[in-house]
Symmetry: C2
Subunit: 347 residues, 2 copies
DNA sequence: TTGTAGGCGTTATCAT
DNA sequence: ATGATAACGCCTACAA
C-alpha cells in the first residue's frame, strides 16, 4: 500500500494525497476528508524511509540517550517529551549502550532524520572532541559539562558533580564521620565518575582527613550487584569505616544489603549515602540519603536552551542546575552519643 | 557525500561501490581495498533510509518492547541481544509506550525494515486481534499467552500468570494468612493484570476465603508511588490484613514503605509479596518475597522458537516457562506463635 | 485546487 | 568483475 494505491483508490493524484496526509495547504476540504478516510480504513502509513530520504528538513528534535536502564535519564526523557509535545516539534528518542559512541550515532542520525537540534543525555568528552565537529546543529548535552569544549553550537546543562560530591562528603564529615569508604564508577571511562572522585578527594583534603585509595576506594560498575560486592571487597581488604559514600544510588542500595549481611545496620552502625536522587530511594527503609539531581529542571532547561538556539539563534550556554543534599534516614549524626568508632565486621 | 561521490573519487561505478561496501561477492580485491579506504578516510556512511527503501529483505530480527522502564523487559532484551549476537542476524530494538499499539507499530516496521521475524516483549490481545493479520512473518510474544489467538505465525512464551498468582496466594495462606489485601494493575487494560487478579480469586475461592473486591482490592499503575498510595487507601477504607499481595514488585516496594509509615513492620506485622523477581528485590532489607519470572529463560526460548521458525519453517509453538515462588524475608509464617490477627493501623 | 514529473541515495537487474 | 539503469515510496516544484 503506497500513496499511489491511495491515489488510485480515491481518484486523486499522488501529489494531492501527499499534501493531504501531511496537512499542507491548498487541499480542498472534500479531498482531504476523502483521502484521510481512505487512509484510515486501509490502515495506510507513510513510509518513513522514503519520506526522510526526500525531505530536506524535518520538524524533529532528536534525543540521544546514552545508557538504557538509567532511571535518571528515563525521568528526563519523560519531562523532555512533555515539553516538546507542547511545541510544534516532535521528539525522536534514540537509545544506545553506555559504551557506544553517542556522537557518531548522532552524526548518522543527522543525515538520516535531519533534526533541528539534538539533546544528548549523557556524553563522553573524548567522543565529542573526536567527532562533534561534523555536527553544526544546535545541541545540548545534559549531565555533562561542555563549557570547555571548543564548539560554538554545543550547550550544556549539568549538576556540578564535583561540588555535589564535595558537599555530600562534607555533610558526612559534619555528622562526625571521618572514616568514609567510597564506592565509585570507572574514572577512566566516565568523566562523571572522575569528577565525583575528585570531589571526594577535595573534601577529604580540605578537612585534613587521610584517604588511602588503595584500601578505601572501590571503582565498579553502576549496579546493585557491584555495590554489594564492593562492600565485601572493602571489608575483606581491612577497610574500616563509619560511613560509605556511593557515587550512584543503585550502588548504595547494594551496599546497604551487603552491610546487613555482614551484621552491620544502616544507619546505626554505618551511614550510607548515594547520588542521583532516584524516586526509589525515598521508598526504601531506611530512606536513602543522597545528592538529588534535579532531573525535571535539567530536562526543562535543556529543552529551553535548545529551542532558543533553534528559533532565535541564541548562542550556546552552559548552565548549572542546583543539587540538593537529601539528609534522609540512611545517615546518622555520630558527633554525640555513644562512639562506635569503626564498623569492621565481627566475624 | 554519497556513493556517487565515492564512485567519482575512486573511478568505479556506483554498483561496485555498493557491492564493496556491503561485502558482496564479485568484487576484486583491488577494488574492495580502494573503495573501503576511500570510504574510511572520508567518514562515509550509507544512508539507511535509501538503503532500506530499496532493500527487499534484511538480516534483521526486530524486538518490539512495550514499556520502557520495565526492568524485566530490560533484562530480557539484554539476554536476547546476547543470543542474537551469536548468530548471523542483527537485533533491532524498538521501544514504545505502555499504551501505544505494538502491533501497528510492528506493521510499519515490517514495511520499513523488512525484518526476518519479530519478538514482542509484552502485548495486548485486542491489538493482536485487530491488526496482526497484516503480518506474515514468524513472530513470538513473550509474557503474553497467544495460544488461543487465530494466527499460525504467532508463537508465545509465557509464565502462567494465573497459576503463578494462585500459587503465591496459596503460599501466603499456607503460612497462616487469611486476611490478604491485593494491589493489582488495571484489569481493563492489561491481560496480565486480569489473569493475576483471576489467580487470586481462584485461590481464595478454593480455600473458602471471602474477599471483598471493593474493600480489599486496589487497581493502580505499576509504580512505587501507586503501591504506596494503594496501601494508604486500603487502610483508610477500613481494610484489615496480615498480608499484602502486589502483582508487581515495584508496587510491593511502595507498599512496604507505606506500611512502615503507618507504624507497621514487614514481615513482623504484615507480610508482603510481589511478582516479577526483579534483581532489586534481593538487595532490599527485608528481601522481597516474590514470584520469580525466569527472564533469562523466557528470552532464550523466544529466540530459539523464532530462529527455528525462520530457518526451518517450524510451526508456531506456545511454551510456558516455570515460575518460582521465592519465599524471602518479607513474608512470615503466622501459623504458630503469637497470634497478631490483623494489621489495622493504630492511629 | 489539482496533476505531473524529477529526484532523494541506495540496491538490484541487467548487460558488458 | 564491472558498468549502466531502473526502481524503491515519497516530496516538491512547476504546470495546468
Amino acid at each position: 500500500m503506497t500513496i499511489k494505491d491511495l491515489a488510485a483508490k480515491t481518484g486523486y493524484a499522488v501529489g494531492t494525497i501527499s499534501r493531504a496526509l501531511n496537512g499542507h495547504p491548498h487541499v480542498s476540504e472534500k479531498a482531504r476528508k476523502a483521502i484521510l478516510e481512505a487512509a484510515r480504513e486501509s490502515g495506510f502509513q507513510l513510509n518513513t524511509n522514503a519520506k526522510q530520504l526526500k525531505q530536506t528538513h524535518s520538524t524533529t528534535i532528536l534525543a540521544v540517550v546514552k545508557g538504557i536502564g538509567n532511571e535518571l535519564f528515563g525521568e528526563m526523557v519523560e519531562t523532555i517529551q512533555n515539553h516538546i509535545a507542547q511545541t510544534r516539534y516532535q521528539l525522536l528518542v534514540d537509545y544506545l549502550d553506555e559504551d557506544s559512541n553517542e556522537v557518531t550515532r548522532a552524526v548518522q542520525l543527522c543525515r538520516e532524520r535531519k533534526p533541528l537540534g539534538i539533546i544528548f543525555l549523557g556524553g563522553n568528552t573524548d567522543n565529542f572532541l573526536r567527532d562533534f565537529a561534523a555536527i553544526d546543529l544546535p545541541c545540548v548535552v545534559v549531565t555533562h559539562d561542555a563549557s570547555s569544549l571548543p564548539f560554538a553550537n554545543l550547550s550544556s546543562v549539568t549538576t556540578d558533580d564535583l561540588q555535589a560530591t564535595r558537599s555530600a562528603i562534607d555533610t558526612l564529615i559534619s555528622m562526625g564521620h571521618s572514616r568514609i569508604a567510597i564506592i565509585g564508577g570507572n574514572r577512566q571511562l566516565s568523566d562523571t565518575s572522575r569528577l565525583r572522585y575528585e570531589g571526594c578527594m577535595q573534601a577529604f583534603a580540605s578537612h585534613g582527613i587521610p584517604f588511602d585509595s588503595e584500601r578505601d576506594y572501590q571503582g565498579v560498575r553502576y549496579s546493585y550487584q557491584d555495590g554489594y560486592r564492593a562492600v565485601q571487597t572493602l571489608l575483606d581488604g581491612g577497610c574500616t569505616f563509619t560511613a560509605i559514600f556511593a557515587s550512584a544510588d543503585v550502588m548504595a542500595i547494594g551496599a546497604i544489603r551487603a552491610l546487613w549481611d555482614h551484621g552491620l545496620r544502616v544507619p546505626e552502625d554505618v551511614s550510607v549515602m548515594g547520588v542521583d536522587g532516584l524516586p526509589l530511594g525515598s521508598f526504601l527503609v531506611p530512606q536513602l540519603a543522597t545528592v538529588v539531581q534535579d532531573a525535571a529542571k535539567l530536562a526543562q532547561q535543556s529543552v529551553a536552551i535548545l529551542l532558543e538556539a533553534i528559533e532565535q539563534g541564541c548562542p550556546a550556554r552552559h548552565e548549572i542546575v542546583p543539587f540538593v543534599i537529601a539528609r534522609r534516614e540512611s545517615i546518622r549524626d555520630i558527633t554525640q552519643g555513644e562512639a562506635k568508632p569503626c564498623a569492621k565486621a565481627e566475624f
